[in-house]
Point group: C2
Chain length 269, copies 2
């Protein structure tokens, strides 16, 4: 790696493959925000093959919170459809869950890999936030450097095998005109959560206090804004915690898989 | 005309041309609701040629409330792009305004036609309500047989010549999920008002009491519903009243021009 790339923001923009190499080498263990702009970043879920069918069925039954971008062969750390990837090293930080409980965080899977592990990469809201920002729609959590507000809802996912639980939503405060435009824009991106699932009236989702999210930071709603809710990638994590698999490995939140796909290529029109 | 068509609902479905002939003959002078289903019905505005450029500019500057479907040559009662039309007789009932004030209602323009009159046909929400209903989105004013609620807003139109004034909106109460779907569906129909201009928070439009519309019937909002607002064809009527042209002829509300265009052909995708 070139020295000018030691801090990614100060150097020339790297390709997704260059960023992954840097991560695999251990040179970058932080979040992937602002790395390889315009490229799709994905949520990672690794499960034993014995649970793979049930989990893929769960994703298929709940495509808005669990949009599948790519899957691996059992035991194979490659995911060719998303780039030249070694899933054991190409993510800056991993969460390792045992029996549904976070057991450790690691920066590679060299000591944990097994021949029966299957990788799932799921779409993430980063991909639809790029076109929203490009349209001039301000996103508070980005401008203020906070974590988007997320809430458990009273909407049940459709269960599959041991996977079930509530849909989790992320929320962005928008003016009504921006909310309408955001519906139009995110509709074009069904593989990264797509259109909102709800807007206004948080009580209808069972949310009692919009300023007290279950995950992330308080939104700081302002007069003239309505809450706009999208299905969230935390939904499968909650379902996995409930299913208590003997082992499950995910990315650490914010430390995503950077793929070779361009966000704009996910648009269906 | 065939006797079985005396009441249009009881006979075979008529083509748009057959309905227009029936109207031109004086056999039908009522509203055009439910006539020639699936076909585009339009709002009519007739003005002297001296005002035609300003009015067309006003429509062009305000395409959401004033979407132009067709225009005529000065003095020519035909509008070939919309069908084989004689605009002097093919509408069941006309409002005649003199100096911006409603002077009379007539069922044809035989005594009023002039060589300098120009006809404008503007899109109407009937065309987007058909696909909303087809999607299973209930529309209260239709199921209850009332007139949709309309409101003057604090959004100014962009003026052109003597035409100016507030944007008028129509409002339909919907569940949040139906509101999102309705944004998607009506986005496909930009020539008949397109996507909503606002939702939730009526106060942001300057609407003090949602149950007291400026035109139409009270909406009867129910728990779990939000108001969804579309730009409305009453907007140009309000602008015309303000402009006080020496003569202006419109359709009588609900008594529309039935065209040969199919609603579904207005969809841009």
């Amino acid at each position: 790696m070139n020295a000018v790339n030691a801090h990614p923001k100060s150097g020339p923009i790297m390709t997704p493959g260059e960023v992954r190499k840097r991560i695999a080498s251990g040179a970058h263990t932080g979040t992937t925000a602002n790395l390889a702009p315009e490229y799709v970043q994905g949520n990672l879920v690794i499960l034993p093959k014995a649970l793979a069918y049930d989990f893929l069925s769960f994703c298929h039954a709940n495509p808005k919170p669990c949009p599948v971008l790519g899957v691996s062969e059992p035991g194979d750390p490659a995911i060719p459809s998303l780039g030249e990837i070694d899933i054991r090293r190409d993510i800056p930080r991993y969460n390792v869950y045992r029996d549904g409980v976070l057991a450790e965080q690691v920066t590679d899977l060299d000591g944990l890999w097994r021949d029966d592990l299957v990788s799932f990469v799921l779409g993430c809201s980063f991909s639809f936030e790029e076109p929203l920002l490009a349209e001039g729609i301000p996103l508070r959590h980005i401008s203020e450097g906070t974590i988007v507000s997320m809430y458990r809802t009273n909407i049940d996912t459709r269960p599959a095998g041991p996977f079930s639980g509530p849909m989790v939503v992320s929320m962005r405060p928008l003016s009504p005109a921006h909310a309408i435009r955001a519906v139009q824009i995110t509709t074009r991106f069904p593989s990264v959560h797509g259109a909102p699932v709800h807007l206004a009236e948080p009580g209808l989702l069972g949310i009692k206090d919009i300023e007290k999210p279950d995950w992330g930071d308080p939104p700081g709603m302002r007069p003239g804004e309505i809450p706009v809710f999208w299905a969230c990638g935390v939904t499968p994590q909650a379902a996995i915690e409930q299913a208590r698999p003997e082992i499950c490995i995910t990315h650490t939140p914010g430390h995503m898989l950077i793929t070779d796909l361009l966000n704009r290529h996910l648009a269906i029109l």
